[in-house]
Subunit: 300 residues, 3 copies
């Protein structure tokens, strides 16, 4: 069998995506636990930078499949701190584990790692690069709670640095979604991503304010605007305020509008919104489990 790596969402065709989502749905719907599926499996979690949520989600997924995990722990004090190359680290770990989940600060790290080993490598984020399992869980959430067909989606916040939304926007072109991008000019979607979207025949429109388009949306995907993107605090405050939402903001939204957020959130969504039917961001986070179970089940 050819080793199956999961490096980028870019290569997924519609059928690939649906295979994973169907498997995730089947796992979620199952009446019995899945712990008899992979009782022998050992999954290596190699996180070269911390990402609590993603790490815990993969760890839960492998354990829900009956397998277990081994962790590299923090980079300080590891072999890496002694000057070991990524290629050497993954080649050693490939002799311990049946698959490797890799998080790394450098773009291209997961691809490079996959070339050195013959166990599956799953990219859990590589710097400004890709984070395909986030995209899959986003798609799963949309399909489950809103529907992927005839979707009108607004994507708001930091569209410049937000790796998550680039992958999602690209993937949504496979489902012919109507996409509205809402951001300050300084955080608009980069030219490269825009080019890819247009190549893929995406229907995209830019907006400076949410209210222009809110009533038409089925789904609003909100992202965190990071303080460190702005030279001073006051500028950050102004932008963060304008691209955050609360109950007042939602007055003109459709009843069926659903709101997603990759989490963690800081101030972008007022906690009062949590109590409304609009909020599905916690379900979205929870959906990481069946989706990652499905992916692991597929590659193991």
């Amino acid at each position: 069998m050819r080793t199956e790596h999961v490096i980028t969402a870019k290569g997924f065709c519609r059928a690939d995506i649906e295979t994973v989502l169907d498997r995730a749905a089947a796992l979620e719907a199952a009446e019995t636990s899945a712990i008899d599926r992979h009782p022998d499996a050992v999954l290596a979690l190699l996180f070269f930078e911390p990402s609590t949520r993603t790490r815990m989600s993969f760890d839960t997924a492998i354990k829900r499949l009956g397998g277990t995990s081994i962790e590299m722990g923090s980079v300080e004090g590891s072999s890496i701190a002694k000057g070991e190359s990524l290629a050497d680290t993954v080649r050693v770990v490939a002799g311990y584990a049946d698959a490797i989940v890799l998080r790394h600060p450098s773009q291209g790290a997961a691809k490079m790692a996959s070339e050195f080993v013959d166990v599956p490598v799953i990219n859990a984020g590589d710097g400004a690069g890709h984070h395909p399992t986030q995209t899959l869980l986003d798609l799963y959430t949309i399909r489950k709670h809103v529907g992927l067909d005839d979707l009108t989606i607004g994507i708001m916040g930091d569209l410049k640095y937000g790796r998550t939304v680039h992958s999602l926007a690209i993937a949504l072109t496979q489902f012919e979604a109507t996409q509205h991008f809402i951001s300050p000019e300084s955080l608009a979607i980069p030219a490269g991503v825009r080019y890819d979207l247009e190549e893929a025949g995406a229907s995209i429109t830019d907006h400076r304010t949410l209210l222009d388009i809110l009533p038409e949306l089925d789904l609003l995907y909100v992202t965190r605007i990071q303080r460190e993107r702005f030279p001073d605090e006051s500028e950050y405050r102004a932008v963060a305020g304008e691209y955050g939402i609360d109950l007042d903001t939602l007055a003109s939204a459709a009843d069926h509008l659903r709101i997603m957020h990759p989490l963690p959130r800081v101030d972008e969504i007022d906690p009062a919104v949590d109590e409304t039917d609009h909020a599905i961001y916690f379900e979205q986070a929870h959906n990481g489990i069946p989706v990652r179970m499905a992916l692991l089940d597929q590659v193991l």
Copy 2:
């Protein structure tokens, strides 16, 4: 089923306590391992401050029940460091795990967390608040090695800041223990705890020195006096010396006196005491396993 949280020992009635202790005793006495009890269970260990012993003890307990754990890891580099609220963190994790063990520096954190999730939350210490599983393992140890009825106990050391001893003293009122508090005046039991004890009809007496009362004791519970409570080292040294014990101190103790300590100890108990029949503090630590197994078994 109503979700069962374990937040404070204060609410435990005698019957609640005995139910847990009986279950712990049954688990400890069982001839076969308990790994078939909860093979599907995933326990989240959310330690917002380190507590090696408590974390390892819960981790062992869930694994002895056949389940597994997921860990948040250190707070640095986690979603919390990015500004996420406790409410958001626990709501996400509640979608991963079947129960949450929470350690947090802020009093009331466990109670608050339990209001946001529908999986059981077990308080593993919340600042100056509660640490109910420590109390249960203390009671289990007393019942097993000394007996809870007609107990005459001395509690010595830091009675002001020692959360452990407050909960224990309150719980012991349910068993009509005779309680002697031995501490320097500056570390005496606080007025609030004293009030609660008197309300509960406790029989309590204060002492400045152990030797006054040592011969009458069935049990001596020693706690660590923390260096950081004292403005200077010499004052600390003087107090720590006076409220520590060694073989000489124990000359007037009854043969059946047993000594407990929540550990880690520093200088409070001379290692020579370890070899005597008085010492049961290592058994006490070990009793954390059956007690936490019993609690997990009850809430899962």
Copy 3:
């Protein structure tokens, strides 16, 4: 049953070694997984200093045997940071786990720990002391890929501080290997180790350059020369260059020469060597799994 500790490779006789290696070989050759062997086992991983590779290798080994692990985590914020003694830490943990793997910066720590507990203690490195499982996996690798009989081995690099090579050299005397030591004078094998080797009847020769002896070798064991051993960078660079290998260096090597390295490597072996049949250092790392499984299987 007498508790079986694994503290040093020094005490292993040839039969002891072969028992472990045979068991490792059987585990590696088995067609079914070993997860039914120790489903109840809980292994404590107490790493008082980080060692990613060794920790992950033991963690994998216990999980491949069906058991599970509990970890102390980093020393900061642990009970040890509060001033707890090693004796107390291991006595507490001995009540949680069925065996303890101990890594500690102080020579003699594992031996001392083993005297306080009645569960097996496995030394995973104690400062300048011993690291017996590294020696066993080295021997396993030699036996599997080269053969232990009539072996002519070169050991190159830091022979002064390299704990790994001291243990290996001593163990090889049991198999009557011909040993060549290649190092700068400042990093030559210490007098004490040399004395032990001579007592054991070892056939040893010293060399200042590899090329003198390379054509005769069946096996070359390369170790890392640590920057911190040298007062200035330029001196380090000169030595590291002279005792590193690349394809040119290997021109005069026998075809059947095999190269080992305990990893992590930095610059000692050029990556171009990885592609040759000489390189077995990744297999060597992987062999840590069956060897540690065999040892755990033996003591549990």
